[in-house]
Amino acid sequence: MNIFNNAALLIGIPLLFAFSIPLFGFISKQLTKWVTIFVIGFNATFSLYILLAHKFPSVVVMGNWVPPFGENLYVGPVAVFLVTVVSLIGLLIAIYNLWAIKGGDVTRFSVLFLMYIAGASGIILTGDIFNLFIFMEITEITSYALAAYGPERRALGGAFKFLVVSSIGSTLYLLGVMLIYTQLGTLNIAEIAARIGQTTPGLLTFAGVLLISGLAVEAELFPFNGWVPDTYTGAVNGVSAALSGIGAIAGVYALFRIVMTVLGKDGMYVLTYGKLDLMAVIAILATATVVIGELSALTQKNVKKMLAYSSMAQMGLVAAGFSIGSTLGVYGGIFQLINHSIAKSMLFLIVGVLVAAGVGERIENFKGLWKRSPFLSLAFTIGAFSMLGFPLFAGFWSKFAIVGASIQRGGWYDFIIGLVLFASVAEAFYYLRIVTYIFSSTEMEKPKIKVNLSPAIPIFILAVAIVAIGVYPNLIGNFSMQSAGEFTHKMKDYVLNVIPTITAH
């Protein structure tokens, strides 16, 4: 097999190095961070190569057990695209961590971070629902540990909340997987997707509810998202950035891979098998998440917590986009997911720099920031504007697509998008409040903020990316479009690529 087609390396190499990092740690703690960068850099280069040289779709088969018998990775447009984004954002956060992670156990932080990337890539690449569970657990366990990292005690509280809720969630997911297994006797996503019609509707509904409840914890949908504010606020900023930039991508991917590919029916709009249309359920959850998230953030005085609430709300918007079920909606959802990851991780990194510079994370502390650090102010403004969907910034196009798709579908989706837009006005208020604080000058002269090169590089790259996507949306748009097709036409674009001989039942 051609080595360049072996996407298993995207999971294998980070895992291999993750466990061998303690060896590097014997030499120097600083070295472990560089190893992290190189390994994630490898991932980023490799996945970019697959993406740009168009080496997909392909199926990576483990040990010559062809699907549906063995475990396989499916390297489709979605997988390649999302893995590329995950590893690029991971790379930038790793560069940031060069500067940010100084105290504490640097070696083990590097181990956990690499495993986190490996787990997230695994979730996205795998073609097997039980492996999905395993990778989800890898991601979650590492993220509890990462969230607990740091000198502040609130990190521990946040991590524990995350742990409890998320453990319950993964148990529910496992039960759902097992229920489906009792029906079909297989764990391969493609085969289940093809044969999902053979199941008992009642049991399938129950399994679907369990699966959604389990995955909604990671995808931050209400009411399964209680952990979000405390965990994001508690974690060090690099980790918050990773949680919102990487974990969210993996979580949303997993949720909609299950709901749309495994449980979904093709058509004009993706619906689901079973007695309850789970897409409609997700639409309701997503709307509730948006409204609750935005309104909660409205009165928040702590910027980091505000960003956490905003993350939650944005995930709701993403899920709302997906739940429309048309290609346009999924397209908007994926686009929004990427935009959110870029912008939100950048905002967290900026807050990290500001906190380290002694500015603090209260809203009032941002007053007159423009005088103190034009670079950070501008980057923060760009990020905030992208979140709000202002033109010339990335978020405009995705929000536009989601609203368009929603109204195109019509019916009660009009109300959903109406609520979402109302919540967006609230969102505009709290983001613009910070932006206006940043640009309003204070009488007191405060010292300038010096930004080191290592945090400045990722922030700069992410800010440039936001503007680049905003000016030329097809940078992301074309890939999003291909990915959307994979979600909405599951037989043509997913199942038949994995198991060419199968017929739908």
């Binding site: 039980f130 097992m178 008992t200």
Partner: protein, 124 residues
């Protein structure tokens, strides 16, 4: 209908274990009790996985087994896959528990309490 429902006693046991675990998680305020609750849920899930793979009249899933018992005219072998999955699940459960305990100890060090209700940051 479903073959696996014939193991109803184990299924009920597993569901009750999950219920007991949830009850503990939802009502006990001590962090370590909550972790025990999580463990019980874990066990319940594992039992569920085993139960759906097993059948009172099934044989071990090895080709050389000779004395097949027939159910409805079919030979039933225990499904080996969930058993192997359970191993993975147990390991994952172990990892989660270990990490949870570590965090619990740290919480006790930093907050000076094991009561989950008191692990709250003042609204700044």
């Amino acid at each position: 209908m479903q073959v696996f429902l014939q193991n109803w006693i184990y299924l009920i046991a597993s569901v009750s274990l999950i219920g007991v675990g949830l009850y503990i998680v939802l009502t006990k305020e001590n962090i370590f009790r909550i972790i025990v609750g999580l463990n019980i849920i874990e066990s319940g899930t594992n039992l569920f996985m085993i139960a759906i793979a097993w059948h009172p009249k099934a044989v071990m899933p090895i080709y050389t087994a000779t004395d097949h018992l027939a159910v409805n005219g079919k030979v039933i072998a225990a499904d080996p896959l969930p058993q192997s999955l359970v191993l993975t699940a147990i390991v994952i459960g172990l990892g989660t528990t270990a990490l949870a305990l570590a965090i619990g100890v740290k919480i006790f060090e930093k907050y000076g309490t094991l009561d989950v209700r008191k692990i709250k940051e003042a609204e700044k």
